[in-house]
C-alpha cells in the first residue's frame, strides 16, 4: 500500500485547516481535528511499517513523474520506524495537551502542520523537497514556541527563526552546489552521479560542508546550538515535549540520509578529512553539552543542553562510518526521542505541582508525586544508559562501533558523557527522593492526600489529579471526580499531577524499557538499510 506514504503528509496538513475553518462555528474543534489526525496518522504509519517489513523498501513517485525527474517518497526500515515514532509522539502530545494546554485552535493547527513537515522529512528522497519540509517544520516550530504567553517566548522564537533560517538556507546553498555539479536532486541518483564528478571536486566538498553546517544548526550541535535552550525553556510543556522529541531528530535523520544515501561511505574513503571533522565537532558537542547541562539549575534548560550532548553522540555514531556505530546512532536517535519527550512531560508535571522548575524546587517531590517521580527516575537512568533500557542499546553499539573503527575519541567521549549524564540526573533524583520538602510550602500536613495519590497510582481512572484551587490543569469534566481533597491548594498551583500527564510519563518510561529489551528487533529493522549503504 504505497499510497499511504503521501497521505502521511497530506492528512495532517489538510486537517490542520479544519480547526481554523470550524473554529468560526464552534470552539474547541482543534483538539478533535488533532486527535483524528493523530489516530489516522498512526494507522497509516503502521501500515507503511508493515509493508516495509514484508516487502522491503517502498517507493512512491509524486504526481506520477518517474524519479529521478520527479519527487520520490521512500520508506525503508529506518524511515518507517521513525514515522511510527512521529505518530506515537503526536498522539501522546495531543492527549497531554488536552490537560496541559495551550488550548487554542491555532495551536492544534500548528501542531498538525509540524507533524506533516516532520513526516515529510522522514519519507522524502529528494534533497530540495527535504529543504521544503525542513522549512515547513521550522515555520511550525517557531510559531509553536511563540505560543508561550510570555514575551520571552516570542524573543526565543525570533532567535530560533533567525538562526534556524540561516541554517536551512545554508543547507539550500549546499544543495545548489550539488545540483550544479550533477544536475540531479534525487538522493539515490546523486549517489551514482557524485563519484563521476569526483568526491574531491571543490564544488562537492563545499556543498557537503554547507549541508553539514546547515543541518548541524537545525540539529543543535555545539557551536550552533544557541537557539535551542531558549526555545525549549520558554515554550509550553507540551510544545517542548514535542519539539525536543522530533524536530532535532528529523534534522539528524536528514544528516544520516545525506551521509549514507547521498554521499555513501565511499565519500569517507575518498575524503577522510570531511567525516573526521564531523567526528571532532560531534565529540566536542557531547562533552560541552553535558558540562553545560550539569551547570544548569533550571530543569528545562538542563534537559535542553542534555539534548545538545545526546545529538552529538548520535552524529558521532553516524560519522564513525561503520555498520555497528551507525546502527547505534539510529537506535539512540529513536530512544532519545522517546526518553526526552517523557522527561519534558515529567518535568512539566512535577514543576506544576512543586510550584517552580529549578532543581531545588523538586525537593521531596517523590512523596507528593510518586508515580511521575518514579517514571522520571526510570527515564533519567535510561538516558544515562543503564541496561536494559534503550539508552544502553544505542550507546553500547556506538562505543562498540567506535572501537571497531579505531575512533577512540568517540568511545572515550561516549563514556565521559555517560558519567556526566549521570551527574546531572543524579542531582535531580537525589532531590526527588532523599530531600525533605521545604517547610514553608505548607504541604507537610497532608500525608493522607499523598497516601491516596499513592494508592491509585496504578493508573486507575478514579485518582486523577483534580485541578484544584481554580487551576485549569485538567480540562476534562469526566475525570474531575478525584478523591484528593483540595486541602493543599493554598499556594501550590496544582495539588497532584494530572492523570493524562501521569499516563504519558509512565508510557514513555515503559516504552524506553521495552524498546531496550526488544532493541534487537529494532536493529533488525535498521540493518538491511545500513547494509545497503555499506555495499
Amino acid at each position: 500500500m504505497t499510497d499511504a506514504l503521501p497521505l502521511l503528509v497530506v492528512v495532517p496538513i489538510v486537517l490542520a485547516l479544519a480547526p481554523i475553518a470550524a473554529g468560526r462555528l464552534r470552539e474547541n474543534t482543534g483538539w478533535i481535528a488533532a486527535a483524528v489526525a493523530a489516530v489516522v496518522h498512526l494507522g497509516l504509519s503502521v501500515s507503511v511499517a508493515l509493508t516495509v517489513r514484508s516487502a522491503g523498501r517502498v517507493s512512491y513517485a509524486v504526481g506520477g513523474y518517474v524519479p529521478p525527474f520527479g519527487i520520490e517518497l521512500v520508506a525503508d526500515g529506518v524511515s518507517a520506524a521513525l514515522v511510527v515514532l512521529v505518530s506515537a509522539v503526536t498522539l501522546a502530545v495531543v492527549v497531554y495537551a488536552r490537560a496541559a494546554g495551550p488550548r487554542s485552535n491555532t495551536f492544534y493547527s500548528e501542531l498538525l502542520v509540524l507533524t506533516a513537515g516532520i513526516s515529510g522529512m522522514f519519507v522524502t528522497a529528494d534533497l530540495f523537497n527535504l529543504y521544503v519540509f525542513l522549512e515547513i517544520t521550522g515555520l511550525a516550530t517557531y510559531a509553536l514556541v511563540a505560543t508561550g504567553r510570555s514575551p520571552a517566548a516570542a524573543l526565543a522564537a525570533l532567535k530560533y527563526l533567525l538562526v534556524g533560517t540561516i541554517g536551512a538556507s545554508l543547507y539550500l546553498l549546499g544543495v545548489g552546489y550539488l545540483y550544479i555539479s550533477t544536475g540531479s536532486l534525487n538522493m539515490a541518483d546523486l549517489a551514482g552521479l557524485l563519484p563521476e564528478v569526483g568526491y574531491d571536486s571543490p564544488l562537492i566538498l563545499t556543498g557537503f560542508a554547507l549541508i553539514a553546517v546547515g543541518l548541524g544548526v537545525k540539529t543543535a550541535l555545539f557551536p550552533l546550538h544557541t537557539w535551542q535552550p531558549d526555545a525549549y525553556a520558554e515554550s509550553p510543556d507540551s510544545v517542548a515535549a514535542y519539539i525536543s522529541a522530533l524536530v532535532s531528530t528529523a534534522s539528524a535523520y536528514a544528516l544520516f540520509r545525506v551521509l549514507y544515501t547521498v554521499f555513501t561511505p565511499a565519500f569517507d574513503a575518498a575524503v577522510p578529512v570531511a567525516l573526521d571533522t564531523l567526528v571532532v565537532l560531534a565529540s566536542v558537542s557531547v562533552v560541552i553539552g553535558s558540562v553545560l547541562a550539569v551547570l544548569q539549575s533550571d530543569l528545562k534548560r538542563m534537559l535542553a543542553y542534555s539534548s545538545v550532548s545526546q545529538f552529538g553522540l548520535v552524529v558521532a555514531g553516524f560519522a564513525v562510518v561503520n555498520e555497528t556505530a551507525l546502527v547505534g546512532g539510529l537506535v539512540h536517535l529513536v530512544g532519545h526521542a522517546v526518553m526526552k519527550a517523557g522527561l519534558f512531560v515529567a518535568v512539566g508535571a512535577l514543576a506544576a505541582v512543586a510550584g517552580g522548575r529549578t532543581i531545588d524546587d523538586l525537593a521531596g517531590m517523590a512523596d507528593r508525586a510518586p508515580v511521575v517521580s518514579a517514571a522520571f527516575a526510570v527515564l533519567a537512568l535510561a538516558l544515562v544508559g543503564v541496561p536494559p533500557a534503550v539508552g544502553f542499546a544505542g550507546k553500547w553499539h556506538i562505543v562498540l562501533g567506535a572501537v571497531e573503527g579505531g575512533r577512540w575519541i568517540v568511545a572515550g567521549v561516549a563514556i565521559v558523557s555517560t558519567l556526566l549524564t549521570l551527574a546531572y540526573f543524579a542531582r535531580v533524583i537525589e532531590r526527588l527522593y532523599f530531600r525533605d520538602a521545604p517547610a514553608p510550602a505548607g504541604v507537610a500536613e497532608q500525608p493522607d492526600a499523598t497516601a491516596a495519590a499513592d494508592a491509585d497510582a496504578a493508573l486507575t481512572a478514579d485518582g486523577s489529579g483534580a485541578g484544584s484551587g481554580g487551576s485549569d490543569a485538567d480540562g476534562t469534566p469526566g475525570v474531575d471526580a478525584g478523591d484528593v481533597p483540595d486541602a493543599d491548594a493554598v499556594d501550590a498551583p496544582v495539588s497532584t499531577v494530572p492523570m493524562r500527564a501521569r499516563l504519558i510519563v509512565v508510557a514513555a518510561a515503559v516504552a524506553a524499557v521495552v524498546l531496550g529489551v526488544f532493541a534487537t528487533d529494532l536493529i533488525a529493522a535498521f540493518e538491511p538499510v545500513v547494509e545497503v549503504s555499506f555495499q
Partner: protein
C-alpha cells in the same frame, strides 16, 4: 573552464560571471545585517537579503548563453533550464512565510518591551 589567469582572463571572468560576485556580495551583506545590527527589524531585512543571494545563485545556474526562454513556441533550443527557477519560486514562498512569522513575532516583542533594540531588551530582561 578558464585556466589562463592573465589579466584578460580575469576581466573575462568578471564580465561573464559577475552575477556570482553579486551572489557573494548579497550573502555577505545579509549575514552582516543579521549579526551586526541590534535592531530586530533590520535583522529580518538582513535575513531576506541573505536569502535573495541564494535565490540568485540558483537562478543564475539555469542560464545558458544564447538560449531561448524555456517556453514552447518561443524560438528553438537550446533552452534555459527552467528547473532552478521553479525551485526558487518555492523557496521564495517559504521566504515570504518566514518573513511574515518573523514580523509577527517582532510586533509582539515590541508590544512587550517597547523597543526593537536587542541590547535594550536584554537590559530590560536582566532587571526582571
Amino acid at each position: 573552464m578558464i585556466d589562463h589567469v592573465g589579466l584578460t582572463g580575469q576581466i573575462d571572468l568578471l564580465a561573464t560571471r559577475f552575477s556570482y560576485l553579486v551572489v557573494v556580495a548579497l550573502i555577505g551583506i545579509g549575514l552582516y545585517g543579521v549579526t551586526a545590527s541590534p535592531n530586530l527589524v533590520k535583522k529580518v531585512i538582513g535575513l531576506n537579503i541573505f536569502q535573495v543571494g541564494i535565490f540568485l545563485f540558483f537562478v543564475t545556474s539555469g542560464y545558458v548563453t544564447g538560449a531561448a526562454p524555456p517556453l514552447l513556441g518561443h524560438g528553438s533550443g537550446p533552452y534555459a533550464s527552467p528547473l532552478p527557477h521553479v525551485l526558487i519560486l518555492t523557496a521564495i514562498v517559504v521566504g515570504v512565510s518566514l518573513t511574515a512569522v518573523a514580523l509577527a513575532l517582532v510586533v509582539r516583542i515590541y508590544d512587550a518591551y517597547g523597543t526593537l533594540d536587542e541590547d535594550a531588551i536584554e537590559e530590560v530582561r536582566s532587571h526582571d
